[in-house]
Symmetry: C2
DNA sequence: GGGATCATGTAACTTGTTACATGATTGC
DNA sequence: GCAATCATGTAACAAGTTACATGATCCC
């Protein structure tokens, strides 16, 4: 249930049309909650029908015509309610770890190159965040808003730092691997990792 | 498309029934790709109809009767193919950052307590991972499988370390905040964070 | 007037979530 | 025999993805 609230936040920061929101998501909120324009239009429709936002005057035929929205008091209240309510952290999901676990059974062919590619992507993202930090959060910018937003940016920087370090470490491990290209346990299908008492990653499987 | 491949991996490690898979996911693979039993049964049905897995003999009426599956050669090939194919890293999504960004507009009431709660949860998870590391990855366990699975566990440990550190830092920031309970920019709805040229978190919004 | 681009949408599908239904087995 | 639990499922919905459709505007 985060997308509608991300949209309410963006609209409170500045009333916008669907496409403007899409672009702002690409540059900013999307760094931690991405959304396509189709999702955004759908959600704008719902928020409007629920009375949380309304289209600004100039209500022309619609299709092809720019349509800006602003947040209504009920929308602001809903956002405040949602923001202050406790929420469970969602378990993190990452396909890369599924792949590594699979590689431990069917072999690591091809993964190393992709890890290297991911490393480059994360290095690039980290550099982008650090650029933003230098540009937007110099000395003097320490209002409450600035601090909160800087906190979010720091999370992005720290996460990308984690990724670059972990990937470098993983690549080092791969180089030390006995025979990285061969499938492990390629005999009968049940001689892979022992299910109980053994060294299953992240717990016994 | 990770769930079917996570299931194939688990079944290669050890043929299992739906409920056994669910339990193994809870303890192990679910740490980086969670799944409910409904998802798993649906996916098992698909994998079977696609010829990637098959039910082990004893094909009794089904409902209420335990039904174990094993991976067929086609399933192993599909898993190897998927594992070695390049994939884009999915953008991380976390509602907590949406909430913080919203809090910068509608006020931080209630968030601090929830941050503290999250910190406790992440500390607990970190301790659990470290326990597993101590138990399952002592000296001597350095086969190719062990190394790969240890790598995954290290990612879990590093991520939880990130969270605990970031949350502690965030809580410190909150204590220093001028008036944490009051909404910011509570005048006209469009006087929040300036959209251009200002200090929007993670980029200009 | 015609192509590029801006802008708003529809439709179909896949994945994930929530709630519930039903049969089998075990222990008392 | 009956409650608890093991085990497999169905149904309905919500969220996210992918592909496409259509109107408006601008510039040549």
């Amino acid at each position: 249930m985060s997308l509608p609230h991300a949209i309410l936040t963006a609209l409170l920061e500045k009333p916008s049309s669907g496409l403007e929101l899409t672009r702002r998501f690409d540059r900013s909120i999307g760094y931690f909650w991405s959304a396509t324009h189709q999702q955004i239009y759908r959600e704008l429709g719902r928020l409007e029908s629920e009375g949380y936002i309304r289209a600004l005057p100039a209500e022309r035929p619609a299709r092809g015509q720019k349509k800006s929205y602003e947040v209504l008091p009920a929308g602001r209240e809903e956002l405040a309610r949602w923001t202050s309510a406790p929420q469970e952290p969602r378990p993190w999901r990452d396909a890369l770890f599924v792949r590594l676990r699979a590689a431990a059974v069917v072999g690591t062919t091809g993964i190393e190159a992709d890890l290297r590619r991911h490393l480059t992507l994360h290095e690039r993202q980290l550099a982008e965040y650090e650029e933003i930090e230098k540009r937007d959060f110099g000395p003097g910018r320490d209002s409450a808003q600035d601090r909160l937003q800087h906190l979010i940016l720091r999370a992005g920087i720290d996460l990308e730092t984690f990724w670059t370090q972990w990937l470098r470490n993983a690549l080092t491990e791969f180089e030390a691997l006995p025979d990285a290209a061969a499938p492990y346990g390629s005999g009968p299908p049940d001689d892979g990792v022992p299910d109980a008492g053994g060294g299953a990653a992240a717990g016994r499987s």
